[in-house]
Amino acid sequence: MEYHLQTPLKLEDIEKLTARDIVYISGEILTARDEAHARILEMEEKGEKLPFSLEGAVIYHCGPLMQQTESGWKVVSAGPTTSGRMSKMTPLLLKNNEVRAIIGKGGMKGVADALKNRCVYLAYTGGCAALAAELIKEVKTVHWLDLGMPEAVWVLRVEKFGPLIVGIDSKGKDIFAEVREKAEKVLERMQE
């Protein structure tokens, strides 16, 4: 199935998605990777207010390549980064916030339970950064630039961002885990 979704996402938008479905997202997405995740959790632990809303948000695991021009920031290249690095921090992030979709690449080990009935993981083709940049229409703002260009939180307006493959749905089905388990079985047979 193919779905076109508009942000902010509602729970019913993502509950209908099943692993291997194709999704396109329009609206606003926020980039966040290692350092931004760490800072979000640190601020929330101290009870501080974030400078952006994660209500119905779409988090994009991406450290974009941006260029500053006279009229503001321009996206040069902005594909997904390895989501696995954020696996440990994601369950708490999802517990604290109503994030409805995470876009990344490579999947996330041990996160399917935390996603259940809350959020989906959408896979975008790794390395396809020129393609992704075409679908990002505007850099709305940037937070935490002190973390460096890749680690800052960039707020982006996108149109039909995709095709995204539902990698982990909100019912616990995880394509990456299925592929991994199959590969492990093949390897065990080879080792016999």
Binding site: R20, E35, C62, G63, P64, L65, Q67, V76, S77, A78, G79, T81, T82, G84, K105, G106, G107, A123, T125, G126, G127, C128, A129, A130, L131, A132, A133, E134, G148, M149, P150, P163, I165, G167, I175, F176, E178, V179, R180, K182, A183, E184, V186, L187, M190, Q191
Partner: protein
């Protein structure tokens, strides 16, 4: 080209070389990806490979880096013993990296390993990383091979026991299974066997520069077939091509050791070369 190249021309050429490496893949890499797409039967994997091919074309046509992770700056230099630049080559390469960072542009990726502070221009202590090899002749060949972190992070090195040559294949397979979709397959796998702790890693990295259409020996083919039998596929979503090629490089090592390094390369096997100096 005379070996009396000016410093300015040299810096210009290296900055242009980096641009080329970032926006355009070598033909053998594109051909291998096209073949992988043609034979893929898993529809999800096929769609991923099609996106990759479309992205390659777009990056080339728009002259933008194909991946936002423009990598850490690595160079392989073969310096002819009769090549006389008349200026500090390392300092000039560093300047070219700074220039390319602004011009191409490149994402500033170089950070202090502990404070994580970004230098902002892709240079720093030990970066760019330049591997020098002294060769006979009057030429200087420089290969730029910017390396992204997604695949580099999935690389591995083990000091095996000398009697464990039979487990090298298994080490590669375990590394690939553990990596799953994280290093952006289809991969190129460089395996360095022998030498010493650091020499094995260097061999593995050099193996990534081998043309993908270069014939593989029986050992390399055996590993490649086993890797592709795992079914991890493009981006770890399942499929028939997990790796495009496996290249092994060896060096003599101590009788008591067997260093094995596996350097994992994503589909964007970026590298470009230039030769300075008199034609011999």
């Amino acid at each position: 080209m005379s070996s009396k190249i000016s410093r300015e021309t040299f810096i210009r050429s290296i900055a242009d070389l980096l641009r080329k490496a970032e926006i355009e893949l070598p033909d053998d890499v594109v051909d291998a990806l096209r073949k992988a797409e043609a034979i893929e039967e898993n529809q999800v994997a096929k769609s991923q490979l099609q996106a990759i091919l479309k992205n390659i074309e777009l990056a080339k046509n728009h002259a933008v880096p194909m991946c936002q992770d423009t990598g850490i700056m690595i160079f392989f230099a073969e310096l002819g013993n009769e090549f006389q630049p008349g200026f500090d080559l390392e300092a000039a390469i560093k300047e070219a990296v700074t220039l390319a960072t602004v011009e191409v542009p490149l994402r500033p990726n170089a950070v202090d390993p502990l404070s994580r502070k970004n230098s902002g221009d892709n240079t720093g202590s030990g970066i760019p990383d330049i591997h020098w090899k002294l060769v006979p002749g009057k030429q200087l060949k420089i290969t730029a091979a910017p390396k992204g972190a997604g695949s580099e992070n999935m690389s591995s090195l083990r000091m095996l026991n000398p009697t464990e040559t039979g487990s090298i294949k298994n080490f590669v397979l375990e590394t690939v299974v553990n990596a799953g979709g994280m290093p952006c397959p289809p991969l190129t796998i460089g395996v360095g066997i022998g030498g010493s702790f650091d020499a094995a890693a260097r061999l593995a990295k050099e193996a990534l520069l081998e043309p993908l259409d270069a014939p593989m020996n029986e050992f390399e083919k055996e590993i490649l077939n086993a890797v592709n039998a795992l079914g991890i596929g493009c981006m770890g979503l399942g499929g028939s091509t997990t790796a495009l090629a496996v290249h092994v490089k060896t060096a003599h090592c101590h009788t008591a050791s067997l260093p094995v390094a596996i350097n994992i390369q994503c589909w964007a096997n970026r590298h470009a070369s230039i030769v300075f100096g008199e034609v011999e």
